[in-house]
């Protein structure tokens, strides 16, 4: 006679995933009368309600009658046998049953251990999620000036890979617009709709590793698709996820750690573009290199070794981002940041040291040129001249440097955050985007000065207003020739930028934020000439309306 006892052990994890284990134990029993009653199930749930391992004897399901002991299965152990050992009352199957029970106990112990481990892991994960939730509540609502250079790490995001992006569509009106073409075919008209930035980002974040890859699609200078971020980081995190990591080493295409505006993401920037000087120093905020940053307490450090050829933010062509010099640029910022729930203070000092490049000329071939000396439109004697070919001229490098100080202040009131930030930069031969510095050509170093201050005021969570004053002097030593005499001249540009906008808060459409911003740029410069030939302000104000959607 064979008795079949079947034990089905099911273990349910507390997480959404369910795992199970089934143990089937077949025990021979000679009594066919008990066979029908012996198919039993023992269910162990995750809450640990399973019977202890020592009690894992075959029992009937709750509510049913226990199996009737047969004559061969006395309820009392036989005299002379050790009552402390588990013995089967069936004299013929006792050793086998004991072995089976022992195995069953081992399996149960194993499963319980596993269950305990799973429960511990789930508790740890829940603790992390709780901490991240707390962090999120800390950083949500904070102005963008907090945590610059470390986002999205300080945003308390979930670990893993995620997608995101934003789109900036705008209409620009410029007083310089004209329905003509520049030499070369570029339109002089600037009044147009454009996709200023269309960024798609894939970010991955784990405990010790983070990575990001961002593409940009825009029509700023014609349809363009290019790379804007591509970097991998190894980091040692601060246990408080709302604070920057102690050490974060990044390699790849990332922001140059200089000042405030360059490190501030284009997504967070409220004003349409960076200040004039910042655009001149860094045509784009990103460059390729090795970056080391972190923070301890209120102190922040951010240093990098980079190519020194920033990728132009306004789309690119040609040698955009290709570094012609062997020496990299050394860039860094050291600062403090004191964020609190109702105020924040941040400040820093930055430096840059690197090398610029004066391009040599290619070798040329011999040419014949006609000079219409008597301006009659025909070739006459002496008007054909030979222009011998020239050998190539070597390229030269020159040193460039800059120092910067920045300060950011914020205070929260009943109407919203008020943010004030300012920067001042002194540079030498650093203009790479506006009046490109070339001291080799000029014969002396070109010194630049940049100053700006900006104010943003939230008006509840629905609106913002702001104002920025921006000054940039591309050559503080400029001389102008007036009536045969060199006189000091002003090359500086003052820009006054009032701003107003409406904000679509984050909670209104889950996963989406947006804003509509209007900005007028009143520019005072000396780019024109009055009737005397003296430098004068030119009418080049501009007005921009931008709609930004973030997801």
């Amino acid at each position: 006679m064979v008795l079949h006892w079947i034990y089905v052990l099911t273990v349910s994890a507390s997480s959404s995933m369910t795992q199970g284990a089934t143990v089937e134990i077949t025990i021979e029993d000679d009594d066919p009368s008990t066979q029908a009653e012996d198919d039993e199930e023992l269910v162990i749930d995750a809450a640990g309600t399973a019977p202890p391992a020592g009690e894992a004897t075959p029992v009937a399901a709750e509510g049913s009658d226990p199996p009737a002991p047969s004559a061969a299965t006395p309820s009392e152990p036989p005299v002379g046998e050790d009552p402390g050992t588990v013995t089967d009352t069936h004299p013929q199957t006792s050793p086998e049953l004991a072995e089976e029970l022992r195995q069953l106990r081992e399996r149960l112990e194993y499963l319980e251990r596993k269950e305990d481990e799973r429960a511990a892991k789930a508790a740890a994960k829940q603790a992390i999620a709780d901490e991240q939730k707390r962090t999120r509540s800390k950083v949500e609502g904070r102005p963008s000036a907090v945590g610059v250079g470390f986002k999205p790490l300080s945003a308390g995001s979930d670990w893993g890979v995620r997608f995101g992006g934003y789109l900036q569509v705008q209409y620009l009106w410029s007083a310089l617009s004209e329905d003509q073409l520049m030499q070369g075919g570029t339109p002089l008209n600037r009044n147009r709709f454009m996709v200023r930035r269309g960024r798609l980002t894939v970010e991955g974040e784990w405990k010790y590793i983070a990575a990001a890859f961002q593409l940009d699609a825009s029509t700023t200078r014609g349809a363009f698709l290019g790379i804007r971020q591509a970097h991998v980081s190894a980091l040692w995190r601060n246990p408080d996820a709302s604070k920057p990591p102690y050490i974060m080493a990044t390699v790849g295409l990332t922001e140059a750690p200089f000042g405030y505006e360059v490190r501030l993401g284009q997504r967070e920037m409220i004003f349409m573009e960076r200040s004039t000087g910042s655009l001149a120093f860094f045509p784009g905020p990103v460059d390729i290199g090795l970056r080391l940053r972190g923070g301890v307490g209120p102190f922040r450090y951010d240093v990098a070794v980079m190519n020194g050829a920033p990728l132009d933010d306004r789309a690119g062509s040609g040698a955009n981002g290709l570094d012609p010099t062997t020496m990299p640029d050394f860039i860094g910022r050291f600062g403090v940041e004191v964020p609190a729930s109702k105020y924040f203070v941040a400040a820093g000092a930055s430096f840059l040291a690197g090398q610029g490049f004066h391009a040599g000329l290619d070798a040329t071939k011999n040419q014949v040129q006609w000079q219409d000396i008597n301006e009659n439109g025909a070739i006459d004697t002496g008007e054909l001249v030979s222009i011998p070919g020239t050998a190539a001229t070597p390229s030269e490098t020159f040193s460039r440097w800059a120092v910067n100080a920045d300060v950011e202040l914020g205070i929260r009131s009943r109407i919203g955050w008020s943010q004030l930030w300012a920067e001042v930069t002194l540079g030498s031969n650093l203009d790479r985007g506006l009046y490109v510095s070339d001291p080799v050509e000029v014969g002396s170093d070109l010194r630049q000065l940049q100053v700006y201050a900006a104010l943003i005021q939230e008006l509840t969570k629905w609106a913002i207003v702001g104002f920025r004053y921006d000054f940039y002097d591309p050559n503080t030593d400029l001389l102008d020739r007036r009536r045969g005499v060199f006189v000091p001249a002003q090359a500086g540009m003052h820009t006054f930028s009032p701003l107003a906008g409406a904000v679509l808060p984050e909670n209104l459409a889950p996963g989406f934020r947006g804003r509509l911003v209007f900005q007028y740029d009143a520019i005072l410069d000396a780019l024109g000439r009055d009737s005397r030939g003296v430098p004068a302000d030119v009418k080049n104000d501009q007005f921009t309306v931008r709609l930004q959607g973030e997801f």
Binding site: A175, L176, E178, Q180, M182, L188, I373, N374, E375, N376, G377, R481, R482, R483, G484, Q490, G492, H494, L524, D525, A526, L527, G528, R529, D530, S531, R532, G533, V534, P535, A536, D537, V538, K539, N540
Partner: protein, 305 residues
């Protein structure tokens, strides 16, 4: 605070110039475009204190439409800050350029040097270049006037453009087109002689004919987009078959062209007129480029009496 703001604004405005913002324009519609000079729309205030232009030195007085880099030098009185130039009443403003050093050979005077281009839309015929000295207050003195004759290149009239008693060419067939392509004018004469870039003077029978140029030859853009066949003497009578030959499209997808013929008319009063007789237009696609090896597109037949 408001006083401080006002002072700040005043300082900023002062540093940028006292006259307020000036308008920037490429001024490509202007009949003259002066290199490195600033265009000031409208007229300048007149003031005798603005000084005077004392001397002008020009290569000749014939301006050709589209001509580049003409040079004009001269001198102004020492009190001048800049020199202003415009083309008679055709210009809508003045070009101003700071004057140079004092001239040691002419005490009390300063030099100036102007390089200018001539627009394509400048009216043919006689005109006047006006130069004026501008003083410290931005006012100009009385203009110094220089008479010039404006001629065109596509339909070369010679001095007839300014003097109607000088006879223009007897006949002209001209072609103009809109894109930078290598398009050629091909004319088959009554004597079955073909005049084109390959044989720009035709055969012996039509020896007085001459093709002015091979515009955009080998896709080297010359800015003309036009060429003409000129007979200084009356062409042999008969029918002339006119073709347009797209040698190379130079990257353009299509081109539109116009063929015009002109003949000289004797007014019997000692003067002559060049009159336009017919005008034919057409278009070509890039796939119709011949490379000079296929039959060109027939456009029209022009009969000369």
């Amino acid at each position: 605070m408001s006083r401080l703001s006002s002072w700040s604004m005043l300082v900023l405005l002062g540093s940028a110039g006292c006259e307020g913002p000036v308008e920037w324009t490429a001024a490509l519609e202007e009949p003259l475009r002066v290199t490195n000079a600033w265009f000031v729309p409208g007229d300048l205030p007149v003031d005798d204190a603005g000084g005077a232009v004392t001397s002008i030195d020009a290569a000749n007085g014939i301006l050709i439409q589209g001509q580049r880099n003409r040079v004009l030098t001269g001198r102004v009185t020492a009190d001048a800050y800049s020199v202003a130039i415009r083309l008679g009443d055709t210009s809508s403003g003045w070009w101003v350029l700071p004057v140079a050093d004092a001239n040691p050979l002419f005490p009390g005077e300063r030099d100036f040097l102007l390089r200018y281009d001539v627009g394509f839309d400048i009216p043919l015929g006689g005109n006047t270049l006006q130069l004026a000295s501008v003083g410290e207050d931005g006012a100009r003195g009385l203009p110094f006037e220089l008479s010039v004759c404006v001629n065109e290149e596509l339909v070369p009239r010679g001095l007839h453009a300014c003097d109607p008693t000088i006879p223009p060419p007897a006949a002209i067939i001209a072609i103009e087109w809109d894109r930078n392509v290598d398009l050629d004018l091909v004319v088959r004469t009554p004597s079955n002689d073909v005049i084109s870039w390959k044989s720009p003077r035709g055969g012996e029978v039509d020896g007085s004919a001459r093709l002015t140029r091979d515009s955009n030859a080998a896709c080297v853009t010359d800015g003309r987009n036009g060429e003409s066949l000129v007979w200084d003497n009356p062409p042999p009578p008969g029918n002339y078959l006119v073709y347009a030959d797209l040698f190379e499209a130079c990257g353009s997808e299509s081109v539109l062209f116009t063929i015009t013929d002109y003949v000289r008319q004797d007014n019997l009063d000692g003067t002559f007129t060049l009159i336009e007789r017919t005008r034919s237009s057409g278009g070509l696609l890039d796939v119709q480029a011949t490379g000079g090896a296929k039959q060109p597109l027939y456009v029209t037949t022009i009969a000369f009496p």
